[in-house]
């Protein structure tokens, strides 16, 4: 019977191996045909003329994810602090399930919401002043993604904030600190590593999101600079999903799209590695071993 369990356990190893093998086998020939440098650092994407450069998409993913982190992490963190330390019981009983629900809302629905509410609102607010073409922009995508990563950030941060020993808080209050001061200056720093893990997981979720981003980001394959956050971008994920449906089998275009997936996959591998390093080292160094499994459990659940 042990053998049966072992074989089942090897299934996930097999799955990862197959994913690597097949993605790389289909993506690499295309990368080689285009030229790795031309592919990764090319600034133009014109499939009809066989020009495939995905630098705009790589940067697009980076910007949109960065924006989501910038917006979502502070708000998520303060919300987690609020929920762990300041929230009245009745409100908590509403807020906690609401946040869990937020994690479960399908991305199509987020996308719908973004398309019908966020994009027009941004156009209304900034359109005239900044000569915007439409509300589809990095900003819209960042806000939407920030909403989507909020539950991830909140749940992990809350678990970690709660695991900070109550004595620290009590000590601070006994020394004359106000409730807020104790929470911000004592509890928050003590939970730093968990917060980092929350950020990394948030990045992972934001960078991989597809359908919602597609509906609000504008999808222009144009090289942008960070200050152009009111203009549209195309990310790695949306590049795949907008063009995959119409592409001819076996064409270079098809290969280039799969290669885009390979680049995305490598990105995610790097982030995962970062996460496992954080998961392994930081908690042990900062506050003993017992919180480590906690962290990974949350990671898997989200």
């Amino acid at each position: 019977m042990r053998g049966v369990f072992l074989v089942a356990a090897l299934a996930s190893v097999l799955a990862v191996a197959l994913i690597c093998l097949f993605l790389f086998a289909q993506g690499f020939p295309a990368i080689m045909e285009i030229g790795p440098l031309k592919f990764l650092f090319g600034t133009e994407w014109k499939p009809k003329q066989d020009i495939f450069g995905i630098l705009p998409m790589i940067l697009g993913s980076v910007y949109v994810t960065g924006g989501a982190i910038l917006l979502g992490v502070p708000i998520g963190l303060f919300t987690a602090l609020f929920m762990a330390k300041s929230c009245p019981k009745p409100l908590y009983r509403f807020l906690k399930p609401a946040i869990n629900l937020m994690a479960g809302v399908p991305s199509v629905i987020y996308g719908f919401f973004g398309m019908m509410v966020l994009v027009p609102a941004i156009f209304e607010l900034f359109g005239k002043r900044f000569d915007m073409m439409s509300g589809d922009s990095m900003l819209a995508a960042s806000i939407l993604l920030a909403m989507m990563i909020l539950p991830t950030v909140i749940n992990i941060a809350e678990t970690n904030l709660r695991s900070v020993p109550q004595e620290l808080y009590e000590g601070a209050v006994a020394l004359g600190a106000s409730h807020e001061r104790a929470v911000f200056k004592v509890i928050l720093p003590a939970a730093r590593s968990g917060v980092m893990a929350a950020v990394v997981l948030g990045v992972g979720r934001a960078i991989g999101e597809t359908m919602a981003v597609k509906m609000v980001a504008g999808n222009q394959a144009v090289l942008r600079l960070p200050h152009e956050f009111l203009k549209g971008v195309r990310t790695l994920t949306t590049n795949i999903v907008t063009e995959m449906g119409y592409v001819e089998h076996g064409s270079l275009h098809n290969g280039a799209l799969i290669a885009t997936g390979v680049v995305l996959f490598v990105f995610i591998l790097i982030i995962n590695m970062l996460f496992s390093v954080l998961n392994r080292d930081l908690p042990r160094r900062r506050r003993g071993k017992e919180n480590a499994p906690n962290l990974s459990k949350e990671g898997a659940a989200l």
Partner: protein, 284 residues
Amino acid sequence: MIQNAMILLRRKKPMDWVRFLLMWGCGLATGAVLLYLVGFIVVKGVPHLTPSLFAVEYTTENQSLFPALVTTLLMVVLTLLIAVPFGVFTAIYLVEYAPRGSRLVRVIRMTTETLAGIPSIVFGLFGYIFFASWLGWGKSILTGCCTLAIMILPLIMRTTEESLKSIPDTYREGAFGLGAGRLRTVGRVILPSAMPGIFAGIILAVGRIVGETAALIFTIGSVIKIPENLFSQGRTLALHVLQLSSQGHNRNEAYATAVVLLIVVIGINMLSETIERRFANKLK
């Protein structure tokens, strides 16, 4: 009482009010965003929830979501049939059988973590390349199920592992002491006590299957019909919302379908929470 409050209030410096506002502001804003999101879909969709949306046969006139609903159910069942045995057995191996700290365990853990982090669009691409093209299954229910099964495998594995770990060692010692073998201990003692935790994980996985679109676009096709066999194409509820909007005439139906999808998701969430709570109580 009032004096106490005054003392506490006097302690607050201006910066503390800023902190106070930050915490309350962010907390309430988060709740408000969700309320607005759900409220928006419900207000737009509920007026268009007509009985004809649930007609058994899809036609251009009624835009029925019933076939999509059935397909979603079918997908959930089939995907779980594939993923749950693998996920649960892996967890059993890791917790009950594997020698602690062996290299194999580390490799398995690492791959699971990797699997958990892969975005669904990459799973979609893989399913399309491997199951649909290489194995020649085409876009079909089976292709979609296998793709989703790989996607939810780490989720089921991790939740099972956690609930197996939370079973006190005294249970195992007791069973061994009574002369039970390892398999018997696992099958008769550990698994039944861990069941609610495993179940909560499975429900979470169901939530992911129901809401998934990016991984299914290239793997399951878009035929709106109750599937006849494993190789027919299908369309899940989430995909149906997406496709409805792509045809241009049916935005109202798209909203209404989104409401149904939302109701399903909320139901799943509530179920998972109830089970989790009961599990927590039982272990106490």
